[in-house]
């Protein structure tokens, strides 16, 4: 068996060189958000962390992330102490930029470590598949756009998630998997979307005997329970003692936001809004009443309550109910078949459900689907067929995050590079499935990928030539997210079929 080249480390070195060159690139308000958190955690007592509101970007991540920022701030004072002053809003000296960007790159080593573990955990015969999947995650355009240009710390967080998934593959390390996931939840609560799958899996595979539901393993249950409670106690205990839990809840779950996020995450609600827009000119002819007050809301693209002109309003309860329903379906199978591959599939489907039906979903959350899915996309060609439209749609939907001219070539060329390279490599190495493939899925994904080219051209060039920069700004955004939504939904349906028939 030949060694696999290029190795993860080699790719990481070249990717790091590229990421360092991106230091002066566009950075979103998230850069200021994280600077502000560095300042808050460094200069205020813990008691005030969740009450401080000098900046509009208040601390709204769980306590471990705040602690993580505190650790970083201990180093930051050597780079530039001025960034640690709470009142220095919008402060971005070059030392600050170098420091914050460098921390993103450095903490991504966790991801590299996790991927390395993942490759090692796989049997020799399919090592090359795991290696290719790991490279695709390491070089993911999603992480590049969100972390290294837009600015966030997802690489490090997804590293922990993958570590936890790797540990879930062996009975002897399942406990670590649970602990890692608990830590992850205390770092960023978006992973709550995946928690049901973890709950079912840990319960079924660790606390109960995999062969029989009626033989609980008490000692395992105690170990897991104590560790998880300890971690949550460490994170939230002090705040509970100070009676701040309600304030934390307010910060962590701001339910006053609207259904669709500013940039229209490509989910079911984007398609719903799109339908609504199409119905507006048609409604008078069909005799449906139009709510004219709503006309100006979605098009503005601002964070706020979305209201629909023709179609019925969507309430939080609906979105919650739908999410739960579509999470529970795959979990039934996981309950019956509590094995690692089903678990990763269930995680992916939980990610899908929450992304497609959730309330106020960020387009960045698409990584919640792509990254777990990448780990099993190479299981066989059926999985890969479902993965393909997601890879295209998920990444194209991130394009509106970067709207500056200088970053346009970066995001498009890098994503195109990644898509060509990995879709080709995956296509070459993905094994033939045991069951026959579904004929339509392949045709659908090919057609779908082809459509993306004119779409990107229109959104980035032709639209501006026809309408200029000012008019109908929402149109490209709406096209992008409706197109991407179609891809995500299509790949979701495809994967459901694969998952339930596997």
């Amino acid at each position: 068996m030949a060694e696999l080249y290029p190795s993860l480390a080699q790719c990481a070195i070249v990717a790091t060189a590229f990421k360092i060159l991106l230091f002066p690139a566009y950075k979103s308000t998230d850069f200021e958000v994280h600077r502000n958190w560095l300042a808050i955690t460094h200069s205020l007592p813990v008691k005030q962390w969740y009450y401080e509101k000098t900046s509009e970007w208040t601390l709204d991540y769980p306590p471990f992330f705040a602690a993580f920022e505190w650790v970083l701030s201990q180093l930051a004072q050597y780079a530039d102490p001025a960034m640690l002053v709470v009142k220095n809003l919008e402060y971005d000296s070059w030392q600050t930029i170098y420091f914050q960007r460098a921390t993103v790159i450095a903490t991504e080593l966790v991801l590299l470590y996790a991927l390395n573990k993942f490759v090692n955990s796989v049997p020799q015969s399919s090592k090359h598949l795991a290696h290719a999947a790991s490279l695709s995650i390491l070089l993911s355009p999603g992480l590049l756009i969100i972390d290294h240009i837009h600015f966030q710390y997802n690489g490090f967080l997804y590293g922990i998630l993958i570590l936890s998934i790797v540990w879930a593959r062996r009975q002897s390390t399942i406990l670590y998997s649970g602990i890692a996931f608990a830590v992850l939840l205390c770092l960023k609560h978006i992973y709550l979307y995946l928690s049901l799958a973890y709950f079912v899996f840990l319960l079924r595979a660790y606390c109960l005997d995999p062969k029989s539901v009626f033989r609980p393993r008490i000692w395992n249950t105690i170990k897991l329970g104590v560790s998880v409670v300890t971690i949550f106690g460490l994170a939230f205990g002090p705040f509970a003692a100070w009676g701040q839990l309600f304030q934390l809840k307010e910060r962590l779950f701001p339910f006053s936001r609207g259904l669709c996020h500013a940039y229209w995450a490509p989910n079911v609600w984007a398609m719903y809004s799109f339908m609504d827009r199409i119905l507006i000119p048609l409604a008078p002819r069909l005799g449906i009443p139009v709510n004219y007050e709503a006309l100006s809301s979605v098009t503005r693209g601002l964070v706020g309550d979305t209201s629909f002109a023709v179609l019925p309003e969507i309430s939080k309860e609906y979105t919650f109910g739908l999410t739960l329903l579509f999470q529970l379906l795959p979990l039934i199978k996981l309950w019956r078949n509590p094995y690692p591959n089903t678990f990763i599939g269930a995680l992916t489907l939980c990610g899908y459900a929450s992304f497609l039906f959730g309330w106020h979903v960020h387009e960045k959350a698409v990584l919640l689907i792509i990254i777990p899915f990448s780990l099993i996309a190479l299981k066989d060609r059926r999985y890969f067929s479902a993965f393909r439209p997601l890879a295209v749609a998920g990444h194209v939907s991130l394009f509106p995050l970067l709207f500056t001219a200088a970053e346009f070539p970066l995001k498009t060329v890098y994503t195109l590079f990644w898509l060509i390279l990995f879709l080709f490599v995956f296509d070459r190495i993905a094994p033939v499935p045991e069951r026959p493939r579904i004929f339509l899925v392949d045709r659908f994904s090919l057609l779908y990928i082809t459509v993306s080219i004119p779409l990107i051209v229109y959104c980035s060039l032709i639209h501006q030539l026809i309408f200029g920069l000012e008019r109908y700004q929402f149109l490209p955004l709406m096209f992008t997210s409706s197109y991407s939504a179609l891809g995500v939904v299509g790949s979701w349906v495809g994967f459901m079929v694969v998952y339930f028939t596997a």
Binding site: A2, E3, Y5, P6, S7, Q10, I13, V14, A17, F18, I20, L21, L22, F23, P24, A25, A405, A406, P409, L410, V413, Y414, L416, F417, I420, L421, F424, V425
Partner: protein, 592 residues
């Protein structure tokens, strides 16, 4: 075979894999136990493309990857950013776009010469005109006459950066790709090695940093030169002339290559036998290309308005020394005025022997023995003599052996000679000798340890001598990232010293040439000196009475290294031409 009549031509057979077998020169190291590992990281990145992957996939991916690095470098600062009143090369190029689109053509070479007057040949002027026209579609204020001086709009930066990268992808990259394809086939180098060489060449740090960091259009000129080389390889001498005149017409710096080009083209007309028709054709095409290049400028100068304007402009010195007087209102006068003015602008003979600090012989000698004391005329003659001396041997060899296969070392040698000894050399001119020298890695055995170590070393040294310049532009980070990345990919110091250690290669056909002991010593000494210099420069202040000390040391080490590069290229050329002689000898014996 009876069927092989004149009308029947058998389909060209693809060179079989067997022909290439074993010549994947030392890319795969034998790691023992039947395992093989890539010899250096760049090989790992193309490991998957060893066999059975179409060039239609490898090539676009390579071009995208190198393009991304170019664009990422271009996010950083450029020369003259926030340095009023004159700014730098970025402003010069923008200013030329501004004047060419607003002024009548006869004013291009005379307008306000104090503020970045046009001093590049006509093709640059036309190129600027085209880019200025395109840019004005986006935003005419970027190029408003006089009003746009020193403009630093971020969108303007994006546009200007895009012009460099688009020009490069339209000229340099197609030229390099087609040249490499032909050259590697000629040298029987396998496709896989060629892809690796291509990536290495396109990531050459010095060229990338100067064009996309500092801001210049060198790759257009270099691309035209490579296109001309490609035409030579294909045996199309007339196209070679056209492309080469294009290179000269874009940037006069291409003159560094001219002596070899001249010797070669003359050689193919005389050796092995005199071919007068070819000689006439080559001369005519060259003259015609020059004429076409100049024609718009000359026609523009003959109009009534233009002639009136020209009479009131200061005569260029070349016109003043004409032995006869001319009617100042005639078209002939206007034409001559225009030509002499362009020549006067392009070749600034009135300036000093060298400008700033540049790693060539004069600047190095000047450090120890002040050259001011001599007359400027004497220095000019000295420089001319030294340059001629340094280029006479390679030119002679090329004239005697006008073979395409030994052109690269000849071009490199002559360009090094020019860089070291000629008049008015810029530090950026180091790109010229580096290009043909780097192209050597695409030849037969080019990626073996010996050639790779020399080419890599020269490139590292070249980028290193550019550091003081790049530092002024705020490009330290891209400098370190790109040079270290390149060194890493090619397995060079400071990232790995393996290239100087013994390795067992999986193909033991004798191509795994180990570098000589002297090579190892020289390279190690230079790498250590460069590293030490960076440490000193970063952490130790130079003594107050010698504020330029670090730059001077940089120049001295650089000049020494470039001298060695000159000698290595010359030696390479001599060895190759001798090998050619012996082969000819053997062929003759066989026939007898």
């Amino acid at each position: 075979m009876a069927s092989s009549t004149a009308s029947y031509r058998p389909r060209k057979k693809r060179k079989s894999a067997a022909l290439f077998a074993g010549s994947n020169n030392s890319l795969i190291v034998d790691a023992g136990e039947g395992k093989s590992t890539p010899a250096f990281p760049l090989v790992s990145f193309l490991w998957g493309a060893r066999a059975g992957v179409s060039q239609w996939l490898v090539l676009p991916l390579t071009l995208m990857a190198v393009g991304l690095f170019r664009w990422a470098v271009s996010l950083w600062g450029y020369s003259g950013f926030q340095v009023p009143p004159m700014h730098g090369d970025f402003e010069a190029q923008r200013h030329w776009m501004e004047i060419t689109i607003h002024l009548p053509i006869y004013k291009w070479y005379t307008y306000d010469l104090q503020y970045w007057g046009l001093d590049y040949p006509p093709l640059t002027a036309y190129h600027s005109w085209l880019l200025g026209k395109i840019g004005s579609v986006f935003d005419p204020t970027w190029f408003a006459l006089d009003g746009s001086r020193g403009l630093e709009d971020p969108l303007l930066k994006v546009f200007m950066r895009a012009t460099v990268i688009v020009s490069e992808y339209l000229v340099y990259i197609p030229a390099i790709v087609t040249f490499l394809r032909r050259y590697t086939r000629m040298q029987a180098v396998p496709v896989w090695s060629a892809s690796i060489a291509l990536s290495a060449i396109l990531l050459q740090p010095a060229t990338l940093l100067i064009d996309h960091g500092h801001f210049q259009f060198n790759t257009v000129m270099l691309g035209l030169f490579v296109a001309s080389l490609d035409a030579i390889m294909a045996g199309r001498m007339l196209w070679a002339c056209i492309f080469f005149v294009g290179a000269l017409g874009f940037k006069q710096m291409a003159l560094y290559y001219a002596p070899v080009m001249f010797a070669f083209l003359l050689g193919v007309c005389f050796i092995p036998r005199f071919r007068p028709i070819r000689l006439v054709c080559i001369s005519l095409v060259t003259i015609a290309t020059f004429a076409v290049l100049l024609l718009p400028l000359l026609l523009g100068a003959t109009g009534l308005e233009a002639r009136r304007n020209i009479t009131s402009t200061v005569e260029p010195p070349l016109l003043q020394v004409l032995p006869f007087a001319l009617d100042k209102t005639s078209s002939l006068y206007a034409t001559l005025f225009q030509i002499t003015q362009i020549i006067h602008r392009i070749f600034p003979f009135s300036r000093g022997l060298f400008e700033d600090k540049v790693a060539n012989a004069w600047c190095a000698i000047h450090t120890f023995y002040k050259l001011h004391i001599f007359e400027s005329d004497f220095l000019k003659r000295l420089s001319l003599g030294a340059t001629l001396a340094s280029i006479s041997i390679p030119c002679g060899i090329i004239f005697r052996h006008p073979r395409a296969s030994i052109l690269l070392p000849a071009f490199a040698t002559v360009a090094w000679g020019f860089f070291l000894f000629s008049f008015q050399v810029h530090e950026k001119s180091v790109l010229l000798p580096l290009l043909p020298m780097t192209l050597l890695i695409a030849g037969d055995g080019g990626l073996n340890k010996d050639t790779r170590s020399w080419v890599g070393w020269a490139n590292m040294l070249g980028s290193w001598t550019l550091y003081p310049l790049l530092k002024r532009d705020g490009l330290q980070v891209p400098y370190f990232v790109m040079t270290i990345l390149w060194a890493y990919l090619l397995g060079l110091p400071p990232t790995s010293w393996q290239i100087y250690q013994h390795q067992k290669f999986s193909d033991e056909t004798g191509t795994a040439a180990e570098p000589h002991l002297i090579t190892k010593l020289i390279h190690t000494a230079f790498y250590l000196a460069m590293l030490a210099w960076h440490v000193l420069e970063a952490f130790v202040l130079p003594p107050p009475e010698k504020p330029d000390l670090w730059v001077v040391i940089n120049v001295l080490i650089g000049a020494g290294g470039f001298g060695i590069s000159y000698l290595w290229c010359l030696w390479r050329l001599i060895v190759q031409s001798q090998r050619m002689d012996t082969r000819k000898e053997e062929d003759r014996k066989k026939i007898q």
